[in-house]
Amino acid sequence: MEILVCVKRVPDTAENEIEINSEGNDIERDDLVYSVNEWDNYAVEEAIQMVDKHGGSVTVVTVGDEESEEVLRREMAMGAENGLLLTDDAFEGSDGRGIAALLKAAVEKGNYDLIMTGAQADEGYAQVGGMLAAMLDYPYASLVNMIEVGDGKLKVGREIEGGNMEVNEIDLPCVLSIQTGINEPRYVGIRGIRKVASVEIPTLGASDLGLDAGSVGEDAARVKRIDYFVPEMGEGAEMLEGSTDEIIDKLIELLKSKGGIK
């Protein structure tokens, strides 16, 4: 099975406090730690496990600048055979639709049976996989947390409300968006990344992809982020202050009065 996994380099929210810059048009990016989007890691792991079992190869693709190459190498160190970087100034400011159009062009340059994305990334739209599938006229399932390979089709579980699983049969080729928890992504050490440090990663721009520059990028975007702002907060929590002992004493009194300590 030939599998393409779409990944994204994102600020790691577990490692950073997100602050807005003084102009309010972006977050402070100078000191941010970036990593691969958490959901994508599960997608790559799943792809590698499928290929280990059923043969084929895994390609990881991303849209971004040169710095995005590091997340491709990280995923290649996990076991993805090929990387592909879609990069061009014309791609900047693309909305989800624009990103999906770029990925569609990349898919059509290859011969993939299965395309996977993470269920969502830092902006939380959860949109690119579904858009890509519609553009390709492939079937789609989102929030996938179980995959079984059948003949020309897959059995997939979708995580739905209440922790229940919706089981579907889906024809290949298809697009799946992968939910966290589907597997346990393998650890990648420095040594693993060094091994793939010199592997060549092809880059493709607008003309390589046969894309009209007007169909992607900022001008084509119909959905635009105007600014970032800190929401006007309600009162929020009463923050307990003082020494740790004082805080704990106050909290225990509160818990007692609310029935929190039996």
């Binding site: 229940n164 970032y228 740790t244 225990i252 929190g260």
Partner: protein, 318 residues
């Protein structure tokens, strides 16, 4: 102004909470809009009449192929009925995420997801508010709706609107081909766990801040001292440190405790969506900007790895 539609989730004749939340969102797009509810399924007269209590017009789309809401089949049904420049509202839940993005491409419409507020329409621009980075920052997002739009609305943030009663219009005869390349087989119910956290009065709930599986022991000690049960947020289950039955959230259990101790939990809306019944919420987190402090009653800025053993010790001494 373009026509506004709301897709109604329902089961056994009962409408989902999102049904009237979408109406509220529609009224924020256009206060005077006569919003059309769309109800799909098989044998849906009850759901349609419920929807007609608050929607001016209800489209009944009844077909065997729609007996389970398979997003691909629903998409085909909607494509044969929706006008090109309509605005369709969906709940941003596991169904809306499945349907919305692909539908917007097929309609050639704009798509915005997880919208938490709407500021109105100016010309062809719909002004929405979203959040990024799990609620740490808000953004203004503008959508060009000249060719219509699909807008996924975050569940639970719009106050359900009352609306006016209306009529059911049967559109079932206007459907085209509904064949699909994805077939629904069944829903497998989540397995029951060793504890039923939906019955617990007091929960010590553990998030990413616990950092390591070995540290979970301190959470169980605190829970034991308090007479509480241990629950958790999604990352703890993803890491396989605790069983799925202990997960609180929209993709886990919905709990209704009296006291909820959110320990090292950032407080994403998916997590808080599983905390109901207005409990007394205590949040302990080392990030003072964690969204959990907006919803908690009492907060402590601290590292739970240091805080939990200390409070456990003091409670044991009581």
């Amino acid at each position: 102004m373009a026509q506004i539609f709301a897709y109604i989730l329902h089961s056994d004749g009962v409408l989902d909470d999102s049904a009237r939340e979408l109406l509220a969102a529609a009224k924020k797009i256009d206060a005077g809009a006569e919003v059309t509810a769309i109800v799909t399924g098989k044998g849906i007269d009850d759901a349609c009449s419920k929807a007609a209590e608050s929607y001016k017009s209800v489209w009944k789309i009844d077909n065997d192929a729609l007996s389970y809401p398979n997003a691909e089949v629903v998409r085909k049904a909607l494509l044969s009925l929706l006008p090109a420049d309509g605005i369709l509202l969906l709940p941003h839940d596991t169904f809306g995420m499945d349907l919305g993005p692909g539908l917007s491409v097929k309609l050639d419409s704009a798509f915005a997801a997880d919208v938490v507020d709407i500021e109105g329409v100016e010309g062809n621009t719909l002004k929405t508010i979203r959040q990024e980075f799990t609620g740490q920052v808000n953004t203004h997002v503008h959508c060009d709706i000249s060719a219509g739009a699909v807008i996924n609305i975050r569940p639970g943030v719009f106050q359900a609107a009352e609306g006016q009663a209306g009529e059911v219009v049967d559109k079932s005869g206007e459907l085209g081909d509904l064949s699909a390349k994805r077939k629904f087989i069944e829903v497998q119910e989540a397995e029951a766990g060793e504890v039923d956290i939906t019955k617990s009065d007091v929960l010590v709930s553990i998030g990413r801040g616990i950092e390591d599986e070995d540290n979970l022991e301190m959470a169980f000690e605190l829970a034991e001292a308090m007479g509480a049960d241990v629950s958790c947020s999604r990352p703890i289950v993803d890491a396989k440190w605790l069983e799925k039955a202990r997960q609180v959230g929209t993709s886990g259990k919905t709990v209704k405790p009296k006291v909820y101790m959110a320990m090292g939990i950032s407080g994403s809306f998916q997590h808080m969506g599983g905390v109901k019944g207005n409990p007394f919420i205590v949040a302990v987190n080392k990030n003072p900007k964690a969204p959990i402090f907006q919803v908690a009653d009492v907060g402590v800025e601290a590292d739970i790895l240091e805080f939990i053993p200390e409070i456990t010790e003091k409670i044991k001494e009581l």
